[in-house]
């Protein structure tokens, strides 16, 4: 009997519709208005890579040890170094990072012994060309410059 009433008046369906109805409250809206509002990103987010520089003397922190390049599963980091005759240390000559092949696994960051290479919270790194995704040392130190669109 109860089953028949349920079937005729579609009570179960109405129960579901009531859930949908309740969701109309504006406090239930969770959509992110992305380009307008930049979303809050986790502190540990693994985004665009950055080669940190020492803020005191604006020299690179990288010691050219090549550990990041060895750790990378995709072999996309190329570190160029030169032995400095005076200080007997390795000087960084170039550093390229091919973002088009990067999967942001963070292994290079883990491998870095001096916290020079770091994956930052920047996530806007689109480029019109493949070549534009191969970042050189300057790009890595300055960070990406996404186009700012204004109305």
């Amino acid at each position: 009997m109860l089953e028949t009433i349920k079937r005729i008046f579609l009570l179960d369906l109405l129960q579901g519709l009531w859930v949908t109805f309740k969701m109309q409250r504006t406090s239930n809206i969770t959509t992110e208005e992305y380009p307008k509002e930049i979303p809050k990103i986790g502190e540990r987010y693994r985004g665009a890579p950055r080669l940190n520089i020492n803020p005191d003397n604006s020299e690179t922190l990288c010691i050219g040890c090549d550990l990041c390049a060895k750790a990378c599963p995709e072999n996309l980091i190329v570190v160029g170094t030169e032995r400095n005759k005076e200080t007997r240390r390795l000087d960084l000559t170039y550093f390229t990072y091919d973002l088009s092949r990067c999967m942001f696994c963070g292994l290079c960051e883990d491998a870095c012994p001096v916290d020079a290479l770091e994956l930052t919270q920047d996530f806007e790194m689109a480029s019109y060309t493949r070549e534009g995704l191969i970042w050189d040392r300057q790009m890595l130190e300055e960070g990406p410059r996404p186009t700012k669109y204004t109305r």
């Binding site: 995709e74 072999n75 996309l76 190329v78 091919d98 092949r101």
Partner: protein
């Protein structure tokens, strides 16, 4: 491989039933495995299913040892719901040998054998529909054989199609 001997009632049953056909029964890290002659492989699996309730084929896969005469190794990982244990049955055979298909024992073997054929080029005798499953039908070669080198493939592809040196 630093293996230990696998000695319990099950390995005893295998030895007494198949005698010479069981080449070794060993275990590594507590996981038992037995190696059989290729011709008895099918019978051993059927025996384990029928008499010892290994009614679930977890996985069927192969390995390639190109330097050996008996080049391929076929590994069946069996599970028994009643005993809650796993056993691996292996067999080694040369490229010319066609092992008997397990698809009449476990239906799951159908796709798994097709995958092995696709990846290693092992032909299973008695398989109902042995054709490539993951690779395109007109693919040449068998990708998981050791002579296939993905670095060379990548370099030649990048050079031919993009005209640059591959960074790999």
């Amino acid at each position: 491989m630093a293996t230990e001997a696998w000695e319990d009632s099950l390995s005893g049953h295998l030895h007494s039933k198949f005698a010479q056909a069981i080449l070794k029964t060993e275990s590594f890290r507590g996981q038992p495995f037995a190696e059989t002659t290729p011709s008895e492989f099918h019978n051993v699996v059927v025996f384990l299913r029928d008499d010892h309730a290994f009614d679930y084929l977890c996985d069927l896969t192969a390995l390639d040892y190109p330097k050996d005469e008996a080049r391929f190794e076929l590994v069946a990982i069996l599970y028994s719901f009643t005993h809650n244990r796993r056993v691996r049955i292996k067999t080694r055979f040369p490229e010319s040998f066609h092992p008997q298909s397990l698809s009449d024992v476990y239906l799951a073997a159908n796709w798994l054998e097709r995958e092995i054929f696709d990846m290693f080029g092992i032909h299973f005798a008695g398989h109902p529909n042995l054709k490539r499953i993951l690779m395109p039908d007109d693919w040449q070669g068998f990708p998981l054989r050791k002579e296939v080198n993905i670095l060379d493939m990548d370099q030649s592809w990048v050079q031919n199609n993009l005209g640059i040196e591959s960074g790999q």
